[in-house]
């Protein structure tokens, strides 16, 4: 118990770091994933800008990067991280690498959700002479917004989980905190205190996501 009280400042700092890491990752990875996902959706054969070679290329790229074990990806991406964010360790590096990895997962989630948009609606948009980009952004995205919100909520939770490995490259956050001060020290109280905060955070976000999706989908 005492340990926990001693560690309180670190724990709250870690909570803050988790929020920052996950929020920024969701932002960058979210945008990257959205872009790739939109690309996959619209280039798919029979899609609004059907183009088999673009689709295959994107598909292969996503499939190449998604399954690489994250710790290997983390190490392999260090040189790139140094180029882009100036360092291979610490929070900037972990945010960079997580964003990159998350992009590919988000791309699939986006692709899947866009595919549930009714073809008739897209036809209606085509019939008024809308360009593929307009259709994508003004019709397809709004139509799929409810499921997309749920998809991004899903990814948020996955990112919280993934960010626990931040510690490998000197990043912070609650997951790292739980591992370093709790788990590695065989200190269950600390472990579960940190996990509890993570869980509360996730509950709040998931409830918010559900609420938002329900509002958007009106069901």
């Amino acid at each position: 118990m005492d340990v926990l009280i001693d560690l309180q400042p670190q724990m709250w700092q870690a909570a803050g770091e988790t929020l920052v890491i996950v929020a920024l990752t969701l932002l960058f990875g979210g945008i990257g994933g959205l872009a790739i996902g939109l690309g996959l959706y619209s280039s798919r054969p029979g899609g609004i800008m059907g183009n088999r070679s673009v689709f295959t290329t994107l598909n292969v790229i996503v499939n190449v990067f998604r399954p690489i074990p994250f710790i290997i990806f983390l190490a392999a991406a260090q040189p790139l991280a140094r180029l882009v964010v100036g360092t291979g360790i610490g929070n900037p590096a972990i945010i960079f690498t997580l964003s990159l990895a998350a992009s590919f997962a988000i791309a699939r989630i986006v692709e899947q959700n866009l595919l549930t948009v009714q073809p008739g609606v897209i036809e209606a948009a085509r019939s008024v002479g809308a360009s593929p980009l307009r259709i994508l952004f003004q019709i397809v995205l709004p139509e799929a917004l409810g499921p997309l919100v749920l998809g991004y909520t899903f990814i948020f939770v996955a990112l919280v989980d993934m960010s626990a490995v931040a510690g490998y490259v000197g990043g912070g956050g609650l997951g790292t905190f739980a591992l370093l001060y709790g788990y590695r020290q065989f200190n269950p109280l600390v472990t579960w205190a940190a996990v509890l905060i993570i869980i509360v955070l996730v509950q709040v976000v998931q409830f918010f996501g559900n609420w938002l999706a329900r509002k958007i989908m009106r069901r």
């Binding site: 009714q118 209606a124 008024v128 002479g129 809308a130 307009r134 709004p142």
Partner: protein, 342 residues
């Protein structure tokens, strides 16, 4: 001056599962629609009507043939060029196809946004359309909060929003009550007359053809089996299908059960006389009946006006001595198209 012309157009849907055969939805369509026409298309369910109009704005690509819209050959055109063509064509979809994530207002605004209409002009235009289709109070409702007819009216407003030069109306009034149908048809007629909008109406309601179309094509199994000015097709339908369609709208000879019921209630001879401007006049018919002392009663049918011409089939029950009746029928038969139905 033709604005839409199709030559030898085919549309084949390839089989999607093994064991299925391909579907020939359109089979050698030749069609010319002139600028300013209100061109009706009728035909049985599955005949290919929707497929045909979807080729006009290239939502579907033809399997073969040539389609020229407003001077542009569509077949072989790139998507970006087709887009320009579509800007000038409004479409009312059979299944409405509303944007479920947009309000009624947003649905109608979309084509205006695509056409680059300024926000202020949009507001004015949308209000006008909403009032016209009677949905001013539903402007901020979403499609899933609307009744069937309300959805259809949103679809109509959306198609009309940009005042396109060509309007494709696929069963545009199928979910509307007669009063609203009437208003929509009046509007279509107005845009046609005032702005010269060319309209293709697909419908199964012959009333719609009768009221607003000047030309009509009858489709069956992917082919156009009959086509011409409405009055001609209605007064002298050539094919069995056309006859059946026409029968449903113009007062026609009673058939089957209807006839049986009439026979039961009106013993004696029953004749049906086709009457129209070019053929017989009914005054004359009646005069002959009276002259021959035949008592008669109009038991079925009536007179209508199509494109300003009188038109109809009258069915009379005749009573009198059989000689008189015979003589009367013979006399009338000399100048009119008489059918002795019972």
């Amino acid at each position: 001056m033709s604005i839409i012309s199709m030559t030898g157009v085919n549309k084949v849907y390839p089989p999607r599962q093994r064991g299925q055969s391909e579907v020939v939805a359109l089979d050698g369509i030749d069609l010319t629609v002139n600028k300013g026409d209100i061109f009706g298309i009728i035909g049985y369910s599955g005949a290919g009507k929707s497929t045909l109009v979807r080729l006009v704005n290239a939502l579907e690509t033809a399997s073969g043939g040539s389609i020229v819209v407003d001077g542009t050959e569509l077949v072989g055109l790139r998507e970006s060029e087709l887009r320009r063509v579509r800007l000038g064509i409004g479409m009312i979809f059979q299944q409405f196809n509303l944007f479920s994530a947009k309000t009624v207002w947003g649905n109608i605004a979309y084509p205006l946004t695509v056409a680059g209409v300024s926000r202020e002009k949009q507001t004015a235009r949308i209000s006008e359309l909403l009032h016209f289709v009677g949905l001013a109070d539903k402007a901020h409702s979403y499609p899933d909060e609307l009744s069937g007819g309300q959805k259809q009216r949103v679809g109509i407003a959306r198609a009309l929003a940009t005042s396109p030069g060509i309007l494709l109306a696929d069963e545009a009034t199928s979910a509307l009550d007669p009063e609203t149908t009437d208003e929509v048809l009046t509007l279509l007629q107005r845009v046609n007359r005032e702005y010269g909008v060319t309209i293709i109406v697909i419908t199964h309601e012959m009333e719609v053809i009768k009221r607003i179309a000047n030309h009509v094509a009858v489709m069956e199994a992917g082919r156009i089996i009959e086509s011409g000015p409405v009055f001609e097709v209605f007064s002298h339908p050539q094919t069995a299908a056309s006859k059946r369609f026409v029968n449903t709208v113009v007062n026609s000879a009673p058939r089957d059960k209807e006839l049986a019921a009439l026979v039961e209630r009106h013993p004696g001879t029953i004749i049906s006389v086709a009457v129209n401007d070019t053929d017989a006049s009914q005054s004359e018919v009646i005069r002959h009946l009276i002259q021959r002392e035949v008592e008669f009663e109009l038991i079925h049918g009536g007179i209508d006006n199509i494109q300003g011409k009188t038109f109809g089939t009258l069915t009379f029950a005749l009573r009198g001595t059989s000689d008189n009746v015979r003589a009367a029928i013979d006399a009338v038969s000399r100048f009119a198209n008489v059918e002795e139905v019972a």
